[in-house]
């Protein structure tokens, strides 16, 4: 366990619990809400710690092992800390044809991170993603919840708030 798991705010807040239970009410078995519940935790904390996972499992009448099996299956559930914004770089076929490798390199150059890495200021984590369903605007990036179309190098500074160096 990390230190973070030991701190007082490792308890789920009332708001988190309420949202998890609201999701659980949509299914005949509470466990149906497992993925959405983990996403509620991520909305507030960015990632799912062991302590959060245990509390969500209790709320949904699941074992910790079962819920962790779910958490580790889905690539958008983060079981380790990520940056404030996750950059999802589409590396599927249409974006690849229109230069997504180059965009990825340029992001890596600017932020000093590879896939799976987080910037030292905790702002960004960079991950590959499958086709984002916007292939007519390839290459495509998603930063946080926002989709960026027809990305080229000149836009990257604006998208990532990095000054041209």
């Amino acid at each position: 366990m990390t230190d973070q798991d030991m701190t007082a705010d490792s308890q789920l807040s009332e708001a988190e619990i309420a949202e998890v239970l609201e999701e659980a009410s949509h299914y005949p078995q509470k466990s149906g809400a497992s993925i959405e519940a983990l996403k509620v935790v991520q909305k507030y904390r960015g990632w799912v710690s062991n302590e959060s996972l245990k509390q969500v499992a209790d709320l949904l009448d699941m074992s910790v092992e079962e819920l962790d099996g779910v958490a580790t299956f889905y690539n958008l559930i983060y079981r380790q800390p990520v940056g404030r914004k996750v950059i999802l770089c589409c590396d599927s076929v249409s974006c690849w044809m229109l230069g997504s490798d180059n965009i990825k390199e340029k992001i890596s150059d600017r932020l000093g991170i590879e896939y799976g890495g987080t910037t030292s200021d905790g702002e960004y984590t960079l991950l590959p993603i499958v086709c984002l369903g916007a292939c007519d605007h390839a290459p495509v990036l998603m930063v946080g919840d926002e989709l960026h179309h027809n990305v080229d190098e000149t836009q990257l500074d604006q998208i990532l708030n990095t000054g041209a160096s």
Binding site: H26, Y27, P28, Q29, S31, G32, A33, S34, I35, E36, L38, K39, L60, M62, G69, V70, F73, Y74, N75, L76, I77, L88, D91, S92, V93, S94, W96, M97, L98, I129, V130, C131, L132, G133, A134, C135, D136, H137, A138, M142, D145, L147
Partner: protein, 438 residues
């Protein structure tokens, strides 16, 4: 029983029913925009003038085929659901909005631009099988779709299109939006059901089919977003009108798209059976200057390549199948003459390999093996026997040898590339290992 129904169908005959509410300069169709063009009137016709089996019959007669890739007749699928007094009390209607097939970008447009159309279709589909609850299984990255759908669902409840006694009938329905968290395999309908139950998204054995034993063991229908969006129009304008829309054997319209190095990559609603040439030349504007068409995947990553000589084939389920491929999702991925087909196939197999759910051995171990062979080949480290090995893999992971259709789908672009672009593979064998040499 069809009187009212047919009269209406003569009133207006939009040739682009699915996108008629997508208007330039308007972010999306609100409830009032939707109702201004007859929104929720198809539902009214279905629910107030027909019983559930009558609704199923209309959809059968419409010959609507699923738009999720396989083209299964929608009415026939519904007819496997137990109906009547002895049927289970709880049944589910699920919309597959997972859209993760590389090169596919059609369902997103429908959900972002006209969310009520999907909801109306879902109520009609749910009524047809007497579902007690309906879910939209939406991929996690579609934030804007989630926002618009959530709002539309709330409005539909307020207006009495959802909830208890819909439009004064004895039919009640709850509809929920489920947002997912990644993994392409979630789109496979039985994996989707496991995912919706809050489990890992491994596919299930069939039989039993979901229509008999699906979500939590209850009869369940899974339909694609675009399939369901056809339903309001079939009931509002009628099946004669619907039949008149197709240009080939299939009926209705379809969202077709093209991405890659064409002048105007986009998505267009066109009649089923529109010739591929017309889509690529008139709508996509032809190839970008300096590029030539080398081949294309007609409907997403898991379809076989086709060649320029196939341009006059109609975009129709059967017509494409006759030429060794599948219409799939109908959104084409264009291969130009300056892109290496072997590298393109590597990109596709890397996708499938990464997204394999790991449940069965041929796929879990076979796909990474294919990736390694292709990588070595491209790096100049290939051997003559590699091409046979790749061919062997396409058989090992072909239909019937794996637990679900992901691996056979992954083999389609590979097997057709080996057939059509053999020279490009062989070129790598002739080349010395450039990197190692230095």
């Amino acid at each position: 029983m069809f009187g009212k129904f047919l009269k209406k169908s003569r009133n207006r005959n939009p040739d682009k029913p699915l996108t008629r509410n997508i208007v330039d300069g308007r972010a999306y169709a609100t409830l009032s925009d939707y109702q201004a063009t007859g929104g929720y009137e198809g539902l009214r016709t279905a629910i107030t003038t027909m019983d559930s089996l009558g609704v199923q019959q209309v959809v059968k007669d419409s010959e609507l085929r699923g738009r999720g890739g396989a083209g299964f007749p929608t009415g026939l699928k519904w007819s496997f659901v137990p109906m009547g007094e002895n049927a289970p009390e709880t049944k589910y209607f699920v919309v597959n909005a997972d859209e993760m097939e590389p090169g596919t970008f059609k369902d997103r447009v429908l959900m972002e631009k006209d969310p009520h159309q999907l909801i109306e279709g879902m109520v009609i589909g749910s009524y047809a099988i007497r579902a007690t609850a309906a879910y939209i299984f939406l991929r996690g990255e579609y934030h804007l779709s989630a926002e618009r759908l959530a709002q539309a669902i709330a409005e539909a409840y307020q207006q009495g299109f959802l909830g208890k006694n819909i439009l004064g009938s004895d039919f009640s329905l709850d509809l929920y939006l489920h947002t997912s968290a990644g993994r392409y395999i979630c789109g496979e309908e039985t994996a989707l059901l496991n995912s919706l139950e809050g489990k890992r998204a491994n596919p299930r054995a069939k039989p039993p089919f979901p229509q008999i034993s699906g979500l939590w063991g209850k009869p369940t229908i899974v339909n694609n977003v675009e399939t369901v969006c056809n339903l309001p129009h079939i009931f509002f304008y009628g099946i004669q009108w619907y039949a008149g829309l197709g240009r080939g054997k299939d009926r209705g319209t379809k969202l077709f798209g093209a991405s890659g190095r064409v002048k105007n990559p986009s998505v267009w609603e066109l009649p089923m059976g529109t010739p591929i040439r017309e889509i690529l030349e008139e709508h996509a504007g032809g190839m970008q200057d300096g590029y030539e068409l080398k081949g294309f995947l007609p409907g997403g990553a898991s379809t076989d390549f086709m060649l320029p000589e196939h341009l006059d084939v109609l975009m129709d389920f059967d017509a494409i199948a006759e030429h060794g491929s599948r219409m799939g999702t109908g959104t084409m991925i264009i291969l130009d003459d300056k892109t290496c087909p072997v590298k393109m196939v590597l990109n596709l197999e890397q996708f499938f390999s990464r997204e394999s759910c790991g449940w069965c051995t041929p796929c879990r171990d076979g796909l990474p093996w294919v990736v390694t062979i292709l990588e070595d080949l491209i790096a100049g480290k290939g051997q003559a026997s590699d091409l046979e090995l790749l061919e062997h893999q396409t058989k090992m992971m072909g239909p019937g040898n794996t637990f679900c259709a992901l691996a056979p789908g992954a083999m389609e672009p590979l097997q057709s590339a080996l057939k059509y672009f053999r020279d490009d593979f062989e070129k790598y064998l002739e080349r010395p290992a450039v990197k190692e040499a230095g």
